[in-house]
């Protein structure tokens, strides 16, 4: 799997290259600035791009803008955005096109190599990887009595949270140490309570949940 990597700090870039190579990714390019990233994304067309939000020359949200530009040019181009902080605002912009193949994670998540690599693979396959902190911000905005989320049981909320992060039923089952059948039951309950249409496609299901959580504001 070919990866384009954009990270301006040498230490982190080097570390990411090593990590991804250790898991048999092929590093098509490892760049350190916005313009280079633009070029690499256009010319190399990687299977997935791993991009830091803040890049030279402006040191603002250059990386995010490059990613959004590239996805406008090539809808669904898988992009995993890394940042020192996560904002619902950015997540919303990344998800706006509804095409999937999007990841948005705190840089800390790299510490857990297994999970990080899993996220990269998921995004490359057109799935979603949202940082737990983003999901928590989303849930915080919609929790409370009288709202549909208030009708979910604590267990269902837990499942919803993991599902919104982009995990498959099998992964959720593994994480909560229950059977996949149990998770499937929770999932259909959640969708019924929230009035969402059930879909067999994991990716579309995640996007529906995220859109639901982000609506209204």
């Amino acid at each position: 799997m070919r990866v384009v990597l954009a990270e301006d700090l040498f230490l982190l870039r080097d570390g990411l290259v090593r990590l991804l190579e250790a898991y048999d990714f092929e590093i098509a390019a490892a760049v350190e600035s916005g313009p280079e990233l633009d070029r690499a994304l256009a010319e190399l067309v990687p299977d997935v791009a791993v991009v830091d939000v803040r890049l030279p020359p402006t040191h603002t949200d250059e990386g995010l803008q490059c990613a959004l530009r590239a996805r406008r040019a090539r809808p669904g181009l898988p992009v995993l955005v890394l940042s020192q902080h996560v904002e619902r605002l950015y997540a919303r912009e990344l998800l706006a096109d509804g095409a999937g193949g999007v990841g948005y994670l705190l840089k800390d998540r790299v510490f857990d190599a297994e999970q990080f690599v899993d996220a990269v693979r998921r995004v490359a396959a057109g799935g979603t990887a949202m940082d737990p902190q983003v999901i928590r911000q989303l849930l915080a905005g919609r929790a409370g009595d009288g709202r549909p989320l208030g009708r979910l049981t604590p267990r269902e909320l837990e499942v919803l949270e993991l599902m919104a992060q982009g995990r498959s039923n099998a992964a959720i089952a593994g994480h909560l140490v229950v059977t996949e059948r149990a998770i499937a039951k929770h999932t259909s309950n959640i969708f019924a309570k929230l009035g969402l249409e059930v879909s067999d496609d994991d990716n579309r299901r995640v996007l529906a949940v995220l859109a639901y959580l982000d609506q209204g504001r």
Partner: protein, 438 residues
């Protein structure tokens, strides 16, 4: 609105068409009548207040009676001066900004009274009273007479002269015209006509001159500058205090947080290194702990950075930073931003961001609101922010609401904060920071 409208009418020469003339005529008559009214009240009001204040000050040595009456008189003088300021802006478009010192929060009666007496503005107003009774009176009288006097000339010409003389001797003087018969009475009428034409052109301007004169006495040139220096000194001290306190907080947070966690991490790694040969299981456990510690240290640093300068503010500017802030709130929040593509200076952006953040935190904590509206716009050289919530109201500056801190922070940039929060709601907090966009 009202003000500019009037000023235009005062300054613009009358148009030639009938409507223009009618409007000009109304302006002139209104100015004349107002001048007459002002002449009467400025003489009466300033003179009586002058007498009252002299008596009151003279009574201070007499059993301290003056100590009780003087604050009252000062209050009246202020009200009188403020009414004249109001009239100046309403009738003449002349702004005379008051420059009173604000009494410190929580000052008692005595501190307030003595503070008022030490305020240079108070003494400036005392000094204004006698001048207003004489020169203020005269400058108001002139435009009034210029409008009214011509009518005496007309009346003389129309036959009023017969009251004063039988035509054989000079029985009355109209201006410099000796009225001694129908002929000279007609001359008086002609002079009246000339004066009326002069009045047509001059009365509003002369009334404005009266207000300008009042401004010279009440507005205060050097006093204003001194006051500005005082305010600047105060806000600078506040700014230095705040930033020093911030630095102390950051130092403490780093010391107790991230720094301590890094030390712990180092120890865990060291122990793991020592154990890796003889007890790999234990070493693995320590390594996992070290990784958790590093995650926690990062989380703490992230919070700290957010408190110093939120990354989204650096990356996107004020508008999106406030949007991102609103998205983190557990309330329905609507944000409208209209500042064009420009960005204010980083310190202004930061102050505005933290002000909005504090006001929103207040709304979440105390108001019981369900919805919040944030309106952010740039107009007339200032950033204007309004935060409205549908909560229970009753918010005020001070009383632990954090709004006093916001007011001080904004003060550094000559910004102001106003709170409108009747009991029962809604609460509207408006902030204004003069600045330029780049």
């Amino acid at each position: 609105m009202d003000r500019t409208d009037r000023r235009e009418r005062v300054d613009r020469p009358a148009d030639n068409d009938a409507a223009g003339a009618r409007s000009r005529g109304r302006t002139v008559v209104l100015a004349g009548l107002r001048a007459l009214f002002l002449a009467v009240v400025s003489l009466g009001g300033s003179l009586s207040l002058l007498v009252l204040s002299l008596v009151s000050l003279a009574l201070v040595p007499v059993l301290g009676v003056g100590l009780l009456t003087t604050p009252l008189v000062v209050k009246w003088v202020r009200a009188w001066a403020n009414w004249r300021r109001l009239v100046a802006v309403r009738w003449g478009g002349v702004r005379i900004p008051p420059r009173y010192r604000v009494p410190p929060a929580g000052a008692g009666w005595w501190a307030r009274a003595s503070g008022v007496l030490r305020d240079p503005a108070t003494w400036r107003e005392f000094g204004w009273l006698p001048l207003d009774a004489v020169l203020g009176f005269l400058t108001a009288l002139v435009p009034a007479l210029l409008l009214l006097y011509p009518f005496e000339g007309f009346a003389l010409a129309l036959g009023l002269w017969r009251v004063f003389t039988d035509g054989t001797y000079v029985g009355w003087w109209y201006g410099f015209v000796p009225v001694g018969g129908q002929g000279s009475a007609l001359a008086a009428g002609a002079l009246g006509a000339v004066l009326l034409v002069a009045s047509w052109w001059l009365t509003p301007a002369l009334l404005r001159f009266h207000f300008l004169f009042t401004r010279v006495l009440l507005g205060g040139g050097r006093g204003e500058l001194a006051e500005r220096v005082r305010v600047l000194t105060e806000t600078r001290r506040d700014a230095v205090d705040t930033s020093a306190a911030e630095l102390r907080r950051i130092e403490r947070d780093l010391h107790d947080g991230a720094q301590a966690r890094l030390v712990a991490m180092g120890m865990e790694l060291g122990t793991a290194e020592a154990l890796i040969g003889k007890n790999p299981e234990k070493a693995r456990e320590l390594l996992a702990r070290a990784r958790r510690s590093s995650g926690e240290a990062l989380a703490e640093l992230r919070d700290l950075v957010h408190g110093i300068h939120p990354p989204v503010l650096a990356e996107r500017g004020l508008g999106d930073a406030v949007r991102a802030l609103a998205l983190r709130l557990p309330l329905d929040t609507e944000v409208t931003v209209d500042i064009g593509g420009g960005r204010a200076d980083a310190p202004v952006e930061s102050a505005a961001y933290f002000a909005v953040s504090e006001v929103l935190t207040n709304a979440v904590k105390h108001s019981g609101a369900e919805r919040v509206w944030v309106d952010l716009r740039y107009a007339e050289g200032a950033l204007r922010i309004a935060v409205t919530d549908d909560g229970r109201g009753g918010a005020r500056i001070g009383g632990g609401s954090g709004l006093a801190g916001v007011e001080r922070r904004l003060g550094t940039f000559d910004g102001v904060l106003a709170v409108g929060s009747p009991v029962g709601g809604p609460t509207v907090v408006t902030m204004e920071i003069p600045c330029e966009l780049s």
